[in-house]
Every structure is written in C-alpha cells, then in structure tokens.
Symmetry: C2
Subunit: 430 residues, 2 copies
C-alpha cells in the first residue's frame, strides 16, 4: 500500500461559506488520494508512515487559475498604467524576448522555483506564443511537482511585429506541432488551448483553434471583459457577436454548449464587466471565472461583481494574474477578493453583500480545484493536495481559534516563509 | 566627531511625485543628522567608519502615522465587520484586557518586537485608556530605538463598562498623572494627547483635554470622518458643530488655528468622507491626514479622496491603522494607497487621477516624516533615518532599474525579511 498519514490542525471548506475545523486530527493519503480525516487513526492505516505537524495548520492546496509565466520577472513594476497601454509597454516587449530559448530558460527557471515555494499547488498558466519556450516552461513545471496546465499563446493580430504570429495558419500549425511534441511527455503538466484574448485573434485563427480543440479535446484559457476600452475594441472587431464571450463561443472555445462533448474545461480570467447575458452564457456553458482582484486593482480595471455571479450559480476560482497582479500569492488574492468586494458594496451596489473570508477560502481551494477534477477538499477520493502552515513567526498574547489563525495567516500572507511543507497529488514537493 | 558613512544605491523623494536615484553613492551621518549624498566621499569624512551595502538599496525610513498597539494581537482576524460593530466585538473587548499590567507587558512586547523588525522607523501610536499599560508600552518602544509618539487614550462615554473611564475628571486626571510620570523619562518616546474619537468623548472631557493641551503643548492624534454611520452618530452627538472635525477644533484639539501657538502637531486618521469645508479646515489648521487605505478596505469604510486633498494642499502621510488594517507594513500601505486611488478613479470620480508610486513613496517618507520635524529626506540637516533593502530573494531575468527594484520591493512588501538594516536618528537599530 502506497500511502502516508499526517497529523495536525486540519481546516478545509466543504461548502461555500463554511470552514470545517479538526484540531489535532489525522489525514490519510493512499495512492495519491485522500482517505479522510480521523480523530483516531483506523487500524488499517496504523502501518503507514506518520508525520506529526504538531500545532501547525493543514489546509488543502491553493489553485491559481490565471498566471502569466513570462510576466513574472517584471511583477510589481510599472504599475501606473491601464490594460492596453500596459500590454504595449510592459507585457509585449518582455514576452518578445522569449523567442530566445536561453532567455526563456533563465526566466522560467526563476518562475518555476518561485511557484514551487509558493502556496500554489495547481496552476493554469499562460506561456508566450513561442513553441520552444513553452516546452521549456513545461519541462520546468514538471520538475516542480505541481500539477499545471500550460498554454502556448495564440496571437496573430494587434500585437507588435516579432511577437505577433505570421498568420492564422502558422499559429495553428505551431500549436499542433507543440501538442505533438509534448504528447505523452509529462505526468503532471498538461497542455491548454490559449487564444490570448479576442483583440489578438483573427476570425481565421479562432476557426482553426476550433478545429484544434475538437481534435485534441483541449481545455481552454483566455481573458474576458476585463477593461472598458478592451471591451469597446472587441465590440468593434466583432460586431456580429452578442457580447465579448460570444466571440469565443461562436468558435467552440467557451466551455461546453448544452450537450457539448468536451471534457477539457474552460477558464476565463477577470469578467469584471460581464453583462447578465454574458454571465448567463458562462453559467450555461460551465465556464469557470478566474477572479483576479489584485490585477483588477493594479491595472485600474474595476471590481468584478462576484456576489452576483455566485448568486447566479457561476463557478468562481481565484487567479493571481501575475503580472497584471503583482504577487503570485493566492493568500493575497483571497484577501484582495474580500477587500475589493467591500469596495464594490460600498461604492457600487449596497445590495451586493461583501465576500467573506470563508467564501474566498472556498474559491481558492474547491472553487479553482474543480478545473483539475476532484481537488480542493479533504474528502474520500479527492486528490491529496495539502499545505502545512507554520504561523509561529506571528506570536499573539491571547488565545486564537484555528479559524482565526487561518484568517490571520491569509491576511499576513505576503510572506511565503510560513509554507512549511506542500503536498501535491500525494507527493511531498516542498 | 560622532558619525559614519554608508554606501549603496540611494533613493529618496525630494518632492511629491519624484524619486531621486543615486547608484553606489555615499550617505553621511553626523551627530544623528544627514550630511548629504556624495558620488565621491569628501576628505573631511574619510576617517568616519564606512559600511558598504554593495548592491542593496538605501531609502529613508518609513513613518506610520496611525497604529493601535493593543490591537496588534488580533490583526488579520474578524475582518468581516464595519467600524462600529468591529469596535464592539473586536477592539473594545481586547483593549479592556490592558487593565492587567501583565497582559499588557506580554502583548506590547510582541508589538514592539514586530515594529522594530518592520520597515517603520517612526510611528504615532494609540495605547489604551490605561495609564500603567501605556507607560509599559512607552518603556518597550524606547527599547526598540524607534522614535514614536504614544498616547494614553481618553474615552468617557459610548464604550463598555470597564473600558470606559469613570468620568471626564478621572480621564483628565489620569492623563496628567501619566504625563507627570513619564516627564523626562525617555529620549525617543514622546507623549501625545489621544481623545479616541468624538463618539467616545463627552464635551466635559474635550474641555478638560483642551486645558491639558494648553498646559503641556502636546501634539494630538485622533480619528476623523472614517465611516458613514460614525459620522451620522457624531452629527447627533454634536449638533452644534459644522462638521466632524469642527468638534475637535472647538476644543483646540485640531492643529493650530491661525495665529495658534502650539508646537505639537495634530494627526487625524482616515478622512474618508471629509467635506470641502472640513478639508479646508484641515489645511488651515495644518493638521496632517493619516491615510490608512488597508483599514478603509478591511472595514469597508470607503476610499479617501487623497487626490483632492493633495490638490487642495493638505498634508498627507500613511498609516497602517493596525488592526483596522491587517498589516503593520507601510510598504503595503503604499501599494494599497495606489490601488485604492485607482478604484476611486474608476468607480467614483474619473477626474481624480490615481496616485502614483512616486507619490505614495513621498507620503510614506517626507509626508509622514513632517510630524516628527525634519524627517524623510536624505538632505543636509534632516534626521538620519534609513532602511537597507535586500531584494536578492527576488531574482529577475532582465535588467531592472533601481526605481523598478524599489517599486517591486514595495509591491511584494508583505515580507519584512528584506529589511537588512535600519537606522533611526543616526543609530543602527536593526
């Protein structure tokens, strides 16, 4: 039997808005899967190796639904621009460098190390449009032990010469080559179809990507309704679409239409300005929203109406959106999500109750975990992803409940030195 | 000659919105004061001990204009409430414990250690209403080497039995006793008059504090126009006042009226909802605004219109407002200030240009430093407060300018392990 047991103060969220707390309990992993939480260890698990994390906290791993690997090197710099300017002045010039494989290796090594050290156990990652660089990124991610989706970006218009792909044919052909190159190569690193965003993709390209998705049954990641100017531009480029998301949906790149047969899921980052019709299409097609509050603040995009989406029954997880957002910390994404929702309530709509800590914890674990299957809970049959949190660095004069300690850890969460250990799919990776 | 020289990459802000950069320059300290920045070290300083910080950054110390020491222990917990509820459920019950001197010593030791380790070199601090506990806090702060103002709180109404002082007489008498106890006791720790906020203070108490201020020429700290319900309550309690700030001004607790003779300055935390008349009074009386963006987000208070205040010529510095704000990091206060201003621009008033990184850096150094005299610049005659920032933990594949490295350090600034060394008033305290 391939397994182990860890002991400590276990917390996880089984349903939106509620955190279950199990002080000094046992957590069993067998063959990469969770076998449950026990106050007393059942006899059948008595022979498994046991590690006691004492008074430390054990929580499910956190999923980052949206992060740009090539932007990691300039995170936290040049933060005084809006999206379209920022793409032209920050993101595109840096991404163009990834044509150079040596540069890509150097930069992606830094990214992979940082993500391994972070609270993130699973991530959905943008690369650049470069095939070789993207394969390098996948090699490095595989070495981290994290489970990730990584995408070679498609972009054949509205980007600088050099970064823009030569044609829709070329973009699609490179994508197929990439998919063939990496087929069967990795255990924990998976490809994802990655049209950058609608302004970067011609109709021809979208049509070709529709074919690629059909052939390979790929998941999809992209951006949606992030910034007012961007949305206006999309409206001009695609007057035939009912709304921004409809552009993707017309090419089968937007989840599953009713009766759809794709097993690969779709994540759309931002959704700051989705209309009711767009939100309803997101729900109908079972697309997941990657809420990226740090990015939405940093690029002055606005505040996504997450309460409305939850009330409508949409799936929502969290994304760091490095480097639109300045930090890879999903703990900070959690607290930014609460803070942004409070401003939305105060400044936009007092009927939209602010998000609670319990709700954003659910989004960071179970919410985003859905993209990877049964991920984010400590329940029988879920993949075993866990973080061990050491908060000894933060002494306190009074008693704190485990719930308070977790909340405090998240709110002080810029500092990753408290991630004592990290398990992904049943393996200790840190 | 009592002095020393440090060498490194020096950055500081001489005027709002501009950061001066001096790569690998010398910075000279003599008798606690800055003697300037030099590309080549002048002969007269050649005999001073020199420490070379190599590629690290040297910036002025950061000032925290508003922090509650007794709330430090519960920072980052119970964040899902608004101000008045939060006071009743979080702040007041914890503060009541400080009647116990042992508890105060235990809790304040944790606070003092944390502040010493932080980026803060100067702070304006709320204690509780307890005289003994406040003296204990001042003893501990003196040991840190930081320069601080510390206040025994006055509150004789609208607070729970036990925390509320028995009467205006008692509150004032305790304050005078406290001032006499600590007179001449400290070199770096100074008293500040601290009426909690208008709802906690009877007219009788304010009248007595007016007398105390006159006798001792004290600086003043309090709260102003933080939350809509609070402001409504103040309106009911003081119908005779023109606006919230006028309540303080009627009792000489609001800076200096024209021709006023106080040398002790006044800081007012928050000013989220100051009317034009209130803002104009703040300006006229030379009161400084302690902008506390993390707290204003966490307690869902709103966003202070800092651009308007700057345009009107008000003085503005930054405050952590622990534990309304979750973190003592003034780097995080800086980036929250930028982020909040972007949301104000996007959601409230598109004529209010977002704050830039350069502007909030000025606020955190020169802006808040004003409260302590000539503090916050590396110019001749300024007190020598400096931070040495080590960003080696954040490798990057490309060249970054010093300006970019500083901005990135701030945006990733939840982590204080990068504060390599810290000087306050010419002494190395860390």
């Amino acid at each position: 039997m391939n397994g182990f047991v860890i002991k400590g103060n276990i917390l996880y969220s089984a349903s939106m808005g509620k955190i279950n707390v199990f002080p000094r309990h046992f957590l069993v992993c067998e063959n990469g899967l969770c076998r449950g939480i026990f106050a007393e260890l059942p006899d059948k698990y008595k022979d498994l190796p046991l590690h006691d994390y004492k008074d430390q906290m054990i929580i499910p791993g956190l999923t980052d639904l949206h992060i740009h690997a090539p932007q990691f090197g300039f995170r936290g710099t040049g933060m005084d621009m809006e999206l379209l300017d920022w793409l032209d002045h920050q993101a595109f010039p840096e991404e163009a460098k990834y044509a150079d494989e040596d540069y890509a290796k150097k930069a992606y090594s830094i990214f992979a190390e940082a993500l391994k050290a972070s609270a993130t156990t699973r991530a959905v990652i943008f690369g650049t449009r470069h095939k070789a660089a993207t394969e390098c990124l996948m090699d490095l991610m595989e070495d981290t032990g994290l489970v990730t989706y990584v995408g070679k970006v498609n972009m054949d218009q509205n980007a600088p010469e050099g970064l823009r792909e030569q044609s829709a044919e070329d973009s699609a052909a490179q994508t197929v080559e990439w998919l063939e190159d990496i087929s069967g190569k990795y255990r924990y690193t998976r490809p994802i179809l990655t049209p950058r965003f609608i302004p970067s993709c011609s109709r021809e390209l979208l049509e070709k990507l529709k074919g690629v998705r059909k052939t390979y049954d790929l998941p999809v990641q992209s951006h949606l309704s992030e910034n007012p100017e961007e949305i206006e531009l999309v409206g001009k480029l695609f007057p035939e679409a009912s709304f921004y998301g409809d552009c993707y949906d017309r090419y089968d790149l937007f989840g599953n239409r009713p009766g759809g047969k794709f097993t690969g899921r779709t994540v759309m980052a931002h959704c700051v300005y989705s209309s009711d019709a767009e939100a309803e299409r997101i729900r109908r097609n079972d697309v997941i929203v990657a809420h990226c509050p740090a990015s939405n603040l940093d690029l002055a995009s606005g505040i996504a109406p997450i309460r409305k989406y939850l009330d409508m029954g949409l799936r929502v997880g969290l994304g760091s959106d490095v480097a639109g957002g300045q930090t890879e910390s999903i703990f900070r994404a959690m607290t930014y999500a609460v803070q942004a929702s409070k401003m939305y309530w105060r400044l936009v709509d007092q009927s939209a109750k602010p998000l609670t800590f319990e709700e954003v914890f659910y989004m960071a674990t179970v919410g985003g975990g859905w993209f990877f299957g049964n991920v984010g809970k400590f329940e029988e049959g879920y993949e075993f992803d866990a973080l061990i949190l050491n908060d000894e660095r933060f002494p306190h004069p009074q008693e704190l409940s485990l719930h308070q300690r977790l909340e405090r850890f998240a709110y002080l969460g810029g500092d990753m030195s408290g991630i004592e250990a990290k398990y992904v799919a049943g393996r200790k990776v840190k």
